[in-house]
């Protein structure tokens, strides 16, 4: 739909703002790690749910960790590069 990365950010003409995607990435990464831990633990303590053998928590945890981690890294604020001083430290575009 919109092909460049900048369209995935909140565009700020007069000040730089962390994009909403960064916050989403952080939260989902945290959730992924918690659920992944639970999923691994479930090999020894299976939950009393239907289809427990499919290890939904494990797969869900892996997915959220990868998805959240990807968003967090991709949209994390970058430090100013040397030689580019004066430019704002905005989100990665």
């Amino acid at each position: 739909m919109e092909d460049n990365d900048s369209t995935l950010h909140v565009h700020r003409a007069h000040h730089e703002m962390l994009p909403v995607w960064f916050f989403i990435g952080c939260l989902l990464l945290f959730y992924g790690l918690v659920i992944l831990f639970v999923g691994i633990r479930e090999f020894h303590h299976p939950p009393a749910v239907v289809l427990a053998g499919y290890h939904a928590s494990l797969w869900g945890g892996i997915f959220l960790t990868v998805f959240g981690g990807g968003f967090t890294i991709h949209f994390a604020p970058r430090r100013k590069r040397r030689g580019n001083e004066g430019a704002s430290a905005g989100p990665k575009r």
């Binding site: 919109e2 909140v10 565009h11 700020r12 959730y31 639970v38 869900g60 945890g61």
Partner: protein
């Protein structure tokens, strides 16, 4: 109606709970609250002008505005209610996600958004002021402000009720924790906070609910297995969209296809998606016209997919739950109501962690619903009531301060509404109906104003008033004399849901009739005053020239193809 059923279920199961949370679940819920508060404190530094606070600086990209546009409508009450409707009515409930969304959302993006955007107004009542004058804005603004704050209170009440039913949480604890959190983050960041949290909620709802259709389809044996199981368990056609709608009594919903196409897809959907400021505000916050036009079109794609996490769990509930759900007013010992189908399916498949994510998704849905209502209330109150009628010449800083105080007052009024509803529960049914009174005529008034330059200020005002009063009148008559439904819905076999659809249709037609009639006998506005407000008088926009695949029309055609394909597949 959904809430009333919830009340009945809670009253029966006041000491029980559907789900028991573990430590990982609580960690996930606490992390959500910490994140939304953190976002509010972070965004405070950016909400420094009234334009920042009320319109998010008109800085949102198409994706952010689009997902927020959709999320403003994707509340927890809708999720639970439509999952319940799918259990009760089958796949017919999908009409409320497909035909009730795609045409009107695309129409908003392609036709109406240029007027909203080019007129540089802050709100839908603001557009009405420019097009029809102060009286129409006042009528629309006051009713919208009152409705939004009351709906926020009903959302708060619903959340506390659901948390009590599902988790066994204390009613007052839920109300105060959620309202304080919403008050803090919206007061700090304004529409920025509301939009950020709506986009966050979008992801939480998808990831929180996605395990149900995935595991459910595995258990049911795919689509064919699901259909076979449904046929084993219930009589009637629960798996076709249009085939059973040629008569009122040929489908579980008791609605004729004309009601769905003209009442739902034509009037209610157009009224809601194109003029309800709660959702339109998100698109108006886009950074340029192309993004504003793309926002509802992007949202329409995801709206098409929502039945996967709402309707499918309801259908799966029919197929795999080992017990039958019943209407809430017949819930007895050991029985569950339709409204519990989503939490029951969540508990069926999700262990610790995933369960917490699902519950967090519901909490997020409720809270962003409150935040959306409160932020829209603050905008309309400040721009459309306070500024023109109470204090005209304040500084920008003054209106920013008023907006922040409005947010706090809006939350306090919402809390008051929530407690009022606990004592007078019939209020919430009336309130939900009251909101529906304004949608259909408002949609007609705005669309006529945009498409017909001859529509006059008096025509717009009296058309809106006549449409609203006729809707109230029909509702009152059917409430007092239920047998009158046969006249409103044109059939003795019509069921209550048909009442809403046909009432909307008639009130829209009355609004159009009165608007046109009065306009033909009254003085129109001079053409010079209609610039950027009416078709044919839209100034050349500064939309950048972009390749075809970046244009709104390209993506509108794409969603039309998707819509047509889905109708054929599930015909």
């Amino acid at each position: 109606m959904i809430l009333a059923n919830m009340v009945a279920a809670v009253e029966w199961q006041s000491t029980g709970r559907l789900i028991t949370l573990s430590v990982p679940d609580l960690i996930i819920i606490v992390a959500y609250f910490a994140m939304v508060l953190g976002i509010g404190f972070y965004l405070k530094r950016y909400a420094t002008t009234s334009d920042d606070f009320f319109m998010a600086g008109r800085d949102m990209t198409a994706w952010v505005a689009g997902l927020s546009f959709l999320s403003a409508n994707l509340g927890a009450l809708e999720l639970m209610g439509w999952a319940a409707a799918a259990y009760q009515y089958g796949i017919l409930a999908t009409h409320f996600y497909w035909i009730a969304a795609f045409p009107s959302m695309v129409f908003l993006g392609l036709v109406m958004m240029p007027f909203y955007y080019a007129s540089n107004t802050h709100s839908v009542p603001g557009y009405l002021q420019l097009r029809y004058g102060e009286a129409t804005r006042a009528l629309s603004g006051v009713s919208f402000a009152v409705m939004t704050v009351l709906m926020s209170g009903i959302n708060m009440y619903a959340m506390a009720l659901v948390m009590q039913l599902v988790l066994g949480w204390n009613f007052h604890f839920s109300i105060w924790v959620s309202s304080l959190t919403v008050a803090i983050y919206v007061t700090l960041g304004g529409l920025y906070s509301a939009i950020f949290n709506e986009v966050l909620q979008f992801f939480l709802i998808w990831f929180g609910a996605l395990s149900i259709p995935i595991l459910g389809m595995i258990e049911a044996g795919g689509w064919n297995g699901l259909v076979a199981k449904i046929h084993e368990r219930v009589q009637g056609d629960y798996v076709h969209l249009w085939a059973p709608m040629s008569t009122f009594n040929g489908n579980p919903m008791g609605v004729h296809w004309t009601g769905i196409v003209f009442g739902l897809g034509g009037v209610i959907a157009f009224g809601y998606w194109t003029t309800d400021f709660l959702v339109v505000q998100r698109a108006m916050a886009a950074k340029d016209l192309r993004s504003a036009r793309l926002a509802p079109i992007i949202a329409s794609y995801f709206k098409m997919l929502v039945p996967a996490i709402v309707i499918l769990p309801g259908l799966l509930g029919i197929a795999v739950l080992p017990f039958k759900l019943v209407p809430a007013n017949t819930v007895g010992m050991g029985l569950h109501s339709y409204n519990e189908v989503l939490p029951l399916m969540l508990a069926r498949y999700c262990g610790p962690g995933l369960l917490g994510l699902g519950v967090t998704a519901l909490i997020a849905g409720f809270m962003s619903g409150m935040a959306g209502n409160v932020s829209a209330f603050a905008t309309v109150w400040t721009y459309d009531i306070y500024q023109p009628h109470i204090y005209k010449h304040g500084s920008d800083r003054h209106y920013l301060l008023v907006g922040r105080w409005c947010t706090i007052l809006g939350v306090i009024a919402s809390i008051g509404t929530a407690y009022l509803v606990t004592h007078f529960r019939s209020i919430m049914d009336y309130m939900q109906a009251l909101v529906s009174f304004f949608i259909a005529p408002l949609g007609a008034t705005v669309i006529i104003g945009m498409l017909w330059k001859r529509a006059t200020p008096k025509g717009g005002f009296w058309g809106l008033l006549a449409g609203t009063l006729s809707s109230v009148g029909m509702y009152a008559v059917v409430t007092i004399h239920p047998e009158a439904l046969r006249y409103v819905a044109l059939s003795a076999q019509a069921k209550p849901i048909a009442d809403d659809l046909y009432r909307a249709l008639w009130s829209c037609l009355i609004c159009i009739f009165v608007t046109v009639g009065v306009s033909l006998f009254t003085e129109p506005k001079p053409i010079a005053e209609l610039k950027n407000l009416v078709l044919g008088h839209l100034a050349a926009t500064d939309e950048e020239v972009v390749p075809l695949y970046k244009r709104p029309i390209f993506w509108a055609v794409g969603v039309a193809v998707l819509f047509a394909t889905l109708q054929i597949v599930f015909w």
